[in-house]
């Protein structure tokens, strides 16, 4: 365990930034936190989490896959991939770190997605324990412990210091960069913080939430549940929940005509959109009820079925606070999960 005095935090950031691009949650003009590249004078946000999740770093909202340039009668195919460099994502919460595992299962299973794999390889994740979980947090339901965040380096922020410990080789290398500002320390302060986090976790309004009644093999049980109708009724069909979600991984591949060629790009898609997975035969889910159901069935039933019971929700609570009509996975779980008591 290394200890960094908060007085030296900026110096440490500067040393990291001299070696790698460093991304840090910072407050924006709207009063929310977002990941921005660290620059001299940047301040680490005190907010519990960012509006958009850090999945953007590995699975960006839009990315060019390849391009075609037309000149005369010939077409050149261009690889638009840029050689990726190592980068540091600082201040990732335990829930978001877990979300990378969910994404890995999708993108790194053979045939692996080389665009995603390359960024995962180059990304160094520095996680931080949550001292102020919000009322919308329910990571514990998915067995995530916010006091034990994973990642390449785990951090604990106290009033005057930042305690860091490396979990991987990449993490060790990162800590070596700032070693001049850190000193060896025991984990007394960290244990104390863990204890207080665990106490708060028990007091959270959603502390008793459990996905126990969901999981693989439950498709038939939930698919035709009458509750979907009232749950989905007010859904606007916008993509807010999907786009702020750290685990939503659906995308579309499209061509953009530039006038002198074509850029083939991939962008996030949302199962809430009317055009989602539209094929030549049309749209497989024609009603908002079906689209709405797809999102939650995917997170709570289909994904665990294909991934050894791992749920594709990490309980970050972003959809709870951002949905325009306040419909979210917690309400869905409570409405459908009540069955086991019958």
């Amino acid at each position: 365990m290394r200890k960094l005095s908060l007085e030296n935090l900026n110096l440490a950031f500067a040393s990291i930034a001299a070696k790698y691009p460093l991304y840090l949650p910072q407050d924006n003009s709207a009063g929310d936190a977002e990941y921005k590249k660290w620059e001299q004078g940047a301040k680490w946000s005190d907010k519990t989490n960012t509006v958009k999740s850090p999945k953007d770093f590995f699975f960006p909202q839009t990315e060019d896959l390849m391009a075609f340039q037309v000149s005369g009668k010939s077409i050149d195919i261009i690889d638009t991939r840029k050689e990726s460099e190592d980068f540091v994502v600082f201040g990732v919460r335990a829930c978001d770190v877990k979300s990378f595992e969910v994404l890995d299962n999708v993108f790194l299973t053979e045939p692996a997605d080389s665009y995603y794999a390359s960024r995962r390889e180059h990304g160094i994740i520095v996680s931080v324990a949550c001292t102020r979980p919000l009322e919308t947090c329910f990571c514990k339901a998915f067995s995530i412990d916010p006091s034990e965040p994973a990642g390449d380096v785990s951090c604990y922020k106290t009033d005057d210091s930042l305690y860091l410990s490396a979990n991987t080789e990449k993490g060790e290398a990162l800590l070596a960069v700032i070693s001049e500002y850190t000193e060896e320390a025991d984990d007394a302060a960290v244990s104390k913080q863990k204890e207080s986090i665990n106490k708060i976790m028990d007091r959270l309004p959603l502390a008793s939430l459990t996905p126990a009644s969901f999981g693989g093999g439950k498709t038939k049980e939930f698919f035709d549940a009458p509750e979907w109708k009232s749950l989905s009724e007010a859904c606007l069909g916008c993509g807010t929940c999907t786009f702020v979600c750290p685990t939503c991984q659906c995308y579309d591949i499209k061509d953009f005509k530039t006038g002198s060629g074509v850029i083939r790009y991939r962008c996030w898609d949302s199962c809430m959109y009317s055009e989602f997975t539209k094929m030549s035969a049309g749209q497989p889910r024609t009603s908002q009820l079906e689209r709405f159901r797809q999102r939650f069935m995917h997170k709570l039933v289909y994904y665990p079925e294909n991934n050894n019971g791992l749920f594709s929700c990490v309980g970050c609570g972003r959809c709870l606070s951002r949905c325009p009509i306040h419909m979210n996975i917690v309400k869905v779980m409570k409405a459908l999960g009540g069955k086991k008591d019958e």
């Binding site: 924006n28 003009s29 709207a30 009063g31 929310d32 977002e34 519990t48 509006v51 958009k52 909202q61 839009t62 102020r132 979980p133 919000l134 009322e135 708060i200 007091r203 959270l204 309004p205 959603l206 009232s230 009724e233 007010a234 606007l236 069909g237 916008c238 993509g239 807010t240 999907t242 786009f243 702020v244 579309d252 499209k254 953009f256 790009y265 962008c267 996030w268 898609d269 949302s270 959109y273 009317s274 055009e275 539209k278 709870l320 606070s321 951002r322 325009p324 009509i325 306040h326 419909m327 979210n328 917690v330 309400k331 409570k334």
Partner: protein, 332 residues
């Protein structure tokens, strides 16, 4: 705190349901917390009793849902409308988007709504929000004593310049005090107009760069009622599901604001639901302000059947080339 209680409203609805006058009630349903209210359809007095809620967080404008419900449901639908919502309702009637015969519109007096985002900004871990005459007591996980936030501080953007007028187009009105209008809604528009082009550019660049193209602004908007939006249509050439670059963001927001220009009632739902808190109402208000000053004052939804400014003209209209000189003269 609302002057009319939820009991009054649900009681009214329940008696009409029981009398068979209406078959459905479109209202607000309580959630997990005190602020996460969802628009919902109620079919029985028991459901109303259990889940109906009317408080400072019942902000959602329910009029757009009537398009869907008057088509899919048979039977009369009771809908609760705040004064500002009735403008949207009336505008939708003007555009023939709602079957009026199927709606029983009940006007609710409103004392101003609270912005959940403003309250949450300074309060982590909200466990309860209790409403008082002057504001809100916010109970959190991290302090023993509740924090107080005044009604003015927490007021929803649209309520800052409340239309304050009486209800338009109703079947029945529940009596009560209506919130008094305060700020000039064009203040911010004028402030932006008085900036240099560079300042304006950077202002919007900063705001719109946060856009994630979730389309919540469009999907909640009671004026955005196209069966198929041009931005969802793969054959339109402009379809794009994600915020690809700053051009796409600008294009989407300019075209969206333009398409509702003259029909936008300034209900403020777009800004309210934006997950990135982009002040989208400033785009709509720009058009409203321009329409008012170029072609005479016009409030969409005020009277049913009126001709919207963009489907109308006057032979003596201002020339596009004169717009800037004319406005500079007005602002000077």
């Amino acid at each position: 705190m609302q002057k009319v209680t939820a009991k009054t409203l649900s009681g009214k609805a329940a008696s009409l349901l029981n009398a068979g006058e209406v078959k459905y009630v479109l209202g607000w349903k309580k959630g997990e917390f005190d602020y996460d209210i969802t628009p919902a359809l109620f079919e029985s007095a028991e459901e109303l009793e259990k889940d109906f809620v009317w408080n400072d967080f019942s902000c959602a404008n329910l009029s757009k849902y009537l398009i869907k419900y008057t088509r899919s449901l048979s039977g009369k639908i009771l809908v609760f409308l705040k004064p500002c919502d009735t403008f949207s309702f009336n505008q939708l009637l003007t555009e023939h988007r709602i079957d009026r015969q199927k709606v029983y519109a009940v006007g609710v007096p409103c004392s101003g709504m609270a912005d959940e985002k403003k309250i949450r900004e300074n309060a982590d871990g909200i466990t309860a929000i209790s409403e008082t005459e002057e504001g809100y007591l916010v109970h959190t996980l991290y302090s023993d004593a509740p924090a107080f936030i005044s009604k003015e501080e927490a007021l929803l953007e649209k309520c800052l310049s409340c239309k304050g007028w009486a209800h338009i187009a109703l079947d029945e009105q529940i009596e009560g005090e209506v919130f008094a209008p305060s700020a000039d809604r064009f203040d911010q528009v004028k402030a932006l107009e008085n900036m240099t082009p560079d300042e304006r550019y950077h202002f919007w660049q900063n705001e719109l760069s946060r856009c994630i193209r979730c389309n919540a602004c469009r999907d909640v908007c009671p004026a955005c009622t196209c069966e198929k939006c041009v931005f969802d249509n793969p054959n339109s050439g402009v379809e794009n599901k994600a915020a690809a670059n700053s051009f796409e963001e600008k294009m989407f927001h300019i075209i969206r604001a333009f398409h509702v220009a003259g029909r936008c009632t300034d209900c403020g739902e777009c800004s309210r639901v934006c997950p990135q808190k982009i002040p989208l109402h400033l785009l709509n208000r720009k058009f409203i302000n321009d329409i008012d000053s170029f072609y005479g004052e016009y409030q969409a939804g005020l009277d049913e059947g009126s001709r919207a400014p963009l489907v109308d003209y006057d032979t003596g209209d201002l020339e596009p080339s004169q717009v800037f000189d004319w406005r500079d003269g007005q602002n000077a």
